[in-house]
Symmetry: C3
Subunit: 136 residues, 3 copies
């Protein structure tokens, strides 16, 4: 049986957008069935045009460009490239329904890579029989 | 056998107070036996009069009122309402003993909904045979 | 069979450095085989001379000294003491290879307590058969 991994992505800063995608694509490569639920600030990552405009938090935001340059030099994918890689590896991306209402985000505002718009209970159904569930 | 879910609540900002309660009440509705451990800044949520005064973090704190209004309009419970809902659903709330000492919080400062004041090892005992353990 | 616990340490502020070490040493005392993976800002904790210079985040950084004094008075170990305690309890400490490249941290910059420098996939191998996996 294929094991499931669920990741709740709740942050929208560049530093906290990388870990969920690194873990998701690594787990998918190991054969896990991976599901990512984007909620609160994390939902921003799925809004058209936002993935590559994420910044480092607070006062560190000034160093965002420097960090991106360094990562590019090291051949680390950008967040939009990681979204593509995740999809190619079979990772499912879900947008949190409640967050969309709170932040006035419409379905057409989301990137086409989103698999579905779901509520917390749909996601918890997936999580409840997962081998790993991470809140990031 | 009823499965357990444990949530460690370590943040005290409004945005990070919602996810643990949404997940806890959703899991309880699905039949999980849910335990929440409030530690570090998260303990503030259990201090009398604080639950409904939580703010968004950093510079976003200015938008706290706006977000609360929007959530009210959408019929999303406030944090104090979520505490009641969680209790009604059988969720257990624990205050971290060490955090109380560090922050000079007395047992009488806590809301009556708190089930117990416990240390990390008591909580880890619960976590060690849980189906899901989340650190938020 | 000894059960495994994996903790991903992604934050480098004093408040978020304590929870992973408290949970790791508690779990090790309960008989868990504990593995800690230090990534992003969390890697700073393993850089020589940094563990005891961590600060509270943002505007709260001004209260770092006050909190440290209070914790000392309560006999709570400092982070460098917790690193020693964790090692004595058999906890394994891993530095994230990619973070080292991004932040220009050399192997000789790390404290000798580090067990190994590993990539995400090595860590996910450990995580995939763990009883608990936490992202902090």
């Amino acid at each position: 049986m294929v094991e499931k991994m669920c990741i709740i992505v709740s942050k929208g800063t560049l530093d906290m957008a990388y870990p969920p995608f690194i873990l998701a694509t690594t787990a998918a490569a190991m054969g896990f069935d991976v599901h990512m639920f984007f909620t609160f600030w994390g939902l921003n990552i799925l809004v058209k045009g936002k993935a590559d405009k994420l910044k480092l938090p607070g006062a560190m935001s000034l160093f965002t460009g420097m960090m991106k340059k360094k990562m590019k030099k090291l051949n680390i994918p950008s967040i939009s490239e990681f979204i593509k890689k995740a999809k190619e590896a079979g990772v499912k991306l879900y947008a949190c329904e409640t967050t969309m209402q709170v932040m006035d985000i419409k379905p057409e505002d989301l990137i086409p890579e989103v698999d579905n718009i779901v509520g917390a209970s749909t996601f918890m159904d997936l999580a409840s029989d997962s081998k790993m569930v991470l809140f990031i």
